[in-house]
Symmetry: D2
Subunit: 314 residues, 4 copies
């Protein structure tokens, strides 16, 4: 990874960051997770990484934040590597929902009672349960290792405060997990599976990490410098498809129509983008819209997509 | 449009058609529309059209069928041209639903009560209501004209039998339309709007027409031979995004994850595909899966996407 | 029928009317039916009728209003007389819903797709479709005749203005009816069935009529003076059960728990009560609570039930 | 309590038991609670108790079974005594639902997110949370004491096997409870509240106990022999209203329409009935219909209601 500084692209990014930052005022940080509630709203950082590993950054690109829902992409990739698509998609569907990320109603109404996709909480918890390992430590280690490898950053680790905060207040996720247990969509112990889930959500990164991971996924799962194939290309392809159809909770459609790039957001304000064959983008802006997506982050991505023609629909 | 015959590509397509045809046996024609119920199941046709207008066909490519839900793409484009995105998306949302195409429950539960997207029936009816014109004849004429222009085929017209059949039995669509009227999402007369909707669904095409239209949309709305800009590029981009997130009813996610090309299906068995910057594809196979999509048609597109690397997520 | 005047009971009723009238200020008339929107809010009338036919009135007991949902009780009785319970409850369920009176979502979710009970709009429309007769005039005549007979009032007729108003603006009811047609729960022509439904809703009565009808139902279907058995006792029993479980839309439970008498309300502000073996009560107060029930009417009934020990749960 | 033997009524009851027993073959025991799954299906017992405390029994009236959902009546009564109706009905609604007893969807859809009534699982768990006491032992003791007092049987206690079985497999109830916690409808610790809930469900009784309790409730909360007022009459009245509108899960409406007596069933096959001013009835028949109610038990009550004119709607 080569961090390129002070060039034209950097200046352009910096200008856009300044233009988009005011949107943060219209949003709110994720109040329902106590540890996230105290984060300042007026932060906006971005990093881009091309497929050779050249990185350009602007704004608060050093700001560290937890992956939250962005982690769902990586556990999906690991579960696919562990079991293949047939097993995974027997446990969780492939359809976007139109419902909020923490909705439970469709789990009850639909037959079979399986979560509609791996990007909503219920689906991600079900996917967590599939990760191989002899115990929860081993399972979580394997997730963390994949994240570290994809980000080319061996220092990524979980934020204990965020982890404890979510473990303590994650009543809705417990409700979803026990429902899954009741309808036989969870093999493991419910609290163990939730523990892995809360831990993966608390893995802490910065924009640079997201940009690099996005570039590796854009590169079909091959590490940028060594060319090592960490994840199969077809699983990276699937991940990008889910990022388009389900990456922004019940705001996914709008982002696809208006911006048109594969991306996954998290309630910490981070967004991971992966432009097939071109680059990865990492963004963070903790102020969220009413669907849980970074307001200024979406604005910034929209600007980049428009000016650099990044939409996959053109 | 130049129809290219008996070359290598044609031979390849023909072979794939033969390999995919047997899937039709597992499907059913759309029994709920009497006029469609009598169509033979063992039909499979395909046509592709590159951005220069070269067309290659195979199988039952001359078979004529009604557009059905594929027409939703064209009324959306016309409504966008008539009013711009702000007005259109004030009337209808941009989110995929996870519900069947004719579902009404979300219209009641969600606030505001607007159809989640223009590709489900409720949304398409709401979009119909936006088409400009002094009366229903004029409105329908404008839709037909757009379809003819995009297909480079001035002979496209409605199948009276299909139109009457749906007009007579379209109780669910009436239920949706009166619900929209009740929640103030329909300005015009309900029966008038439904009449336009039933007519656009009954417009009759063959695979060649779909392929050409798909190519024009892939070309950003410029006619292939004359370069005339019929629809704005950004609206074509939006249409392709909807085709990915909502093109196959509540099977859209699976098609995006497994095949990954913008496409819109109809219950007549037709599928319109538009590969950005590359080509259009028209497919027809009247035997449907349980979500209303052409079974052998999906198989054929999956084969083409895999062998020709058509996925937009690679 | 003997109207008893100026006795002690009358004085008591008059006092309660005056005490309850102020509640009307907190309610609204049914704005969604134009003809009902213009009714003054500060009306409150009551009449009681014992099983010998002695009637006592107070307040605006001469005020005339349309039956609206109260008519659902009478078409249910007539359908039961026409076909017996097996046929009727094959078409419509017996369960309270917890949903608003005009809800459509459960029609889609539940299997079989039948309206949960005959007191919600969808169920009442389905019951209308069962009424015997060679044409809609004959069918409506039979309903009107039953109402006249039960009320001992041959002058009861429909209010043309209310009928036209609802026929013109009844989009939600049309939506429900076409949905029923789509799921094969309606044999007749949709508009014909709706016409009967709108007409029965527009039948105009005063409190005295309601009180008398309530008394006949309380009397097991026998006319008070002649003893003629107009409706079978077991059907009257069923009607009273429905009045308790479903008589106040999604406020039925609260009325059962707090007041505890069989009663059916209508959005015109009328309430029909039938105390088994004791009396009938008719009330009218056009200002409604947010569930569509007469606010001051409920208050008045609660007062009467408490002071006279009318609850069937004591 | 005087158990009357070998008289005419006893003979009549015994005959009805024999006539209704065969219905058990069409039902199933509650397979989802392992401890209940092993119970023989061909059991049917009944006891009646008049307001003087005279008891007549027939069939398997000595068979012991756990209260299960019948316990919801008693915790409701205790919560009402502890806090009064305003507090209780601020936590839980009064409306029947039309949904299964363990449904969670409405908790998400409805605003405010409160359980619709205290007779569904979510509502009963919310009511449990209201019971006064310094710790869960004290709270449960108070529930058990009320049950013992109402049944005039100081030996009633919990079945440890049933309790452990439900505690271990009660994933759906955990899902409901954590959902309630998430929407701030549960003050206490979730597992503590569930522990009380599972314990109250496991309290073990026989038909005689149910009959006596039903008689005390029918008697307005006064003990039959001593006349001690254990529960206020208005709370008994409310309990009987809930038994009519919500006593048989989503089969409550049908039982009200066809039988018409206040009764509460449990998945152990028990049914508690309370005929205002007349008697209590206890029934047990472990084979359930598809809604979770005792099949032969319902048949037996229907027979008794018809022959003895017990319906409160006559």
């Amino acid at each position: 990874m080569v961090v390129v500084k002070a060039n034209e692209i950097q200046a352009q990014l910096q200008q856009w960051v300044e233009e988009c930052l005011p949107w943060a005022e219209k949003g709110e940080t994720a109040g329902y997770i106590p540890a996230l509630d105290k984060v300042p709203r007026d932060i906006l950082g971005v990093a881009i990484c091309d497929l050779e590993g050249n990185v350009v950054e602007a704004g608060d690109s050093d700001f560290e934040f937890s992956l939250q829902s962005i982690s769902k992409v990586f556990t999906l990739l690991l579960a696919l590597e562990d079991h293949g698509p047939e097993v995974v998609f027997n446990r969780v569907g492939m359809e976007p929902t139109g419902d909020p990320f923490n909705s439970i109603a469709k789990l009850e109404y639909l037959r079979p009672n399986k979560p509609l996709n791996p990007m909503i909480n219920a689906g991600a918890i079900a996917v967590c349960d599939l990760i191989k390992g002899n115990n929860i430590e081993e399972k979580f280690d394997r997730i963390r290792n994949l994240v570290r490898k994809l980000a080319n950053n061996p220092h990524i680790d979980l934020d204990q405060k965020v982890y404890f905060s979510e473990k303590q207040t994650g009543h809705r996720n417990r409700s979803l997990a026990y429902f899954l247990k009741d309808v036989d969509r969870l093999d493991g112990d419910v609290e163990d599976t939730l523990d892995i889930y809360f831990k993966q959500c608390a893995l802490t990164v910065c924009c640079r990490d997201l940009a690099y991971m996005g570039a590796v996924i854009a590169n079909g799962g091959k590490l940028l410098e060594t060319g090592e194939q960490v994840v199969r290309p077809e699983y990276c392809r699937m991940a990008k498809a889910f990022m388009v159809t389900c990456g922004f909770y019940n705001g996914s459609g709008q982002f696809a129509v208006e911006v048109g790039i594969p991306a996954k957001s998290g309630v910490s304000g981070g967004i991971l983008s992966s432009i097939p064959g071109r680059m990865g983008i990492g963004v963070v802006g903790p102020a969220l819209d009413d669907k849980g997506n970074s307001l200024s982050g979406e604005m910034l991505l929209a600007k980049m997509a428009r000016h650099w023609n990044l939409s996959i629909f053109v």
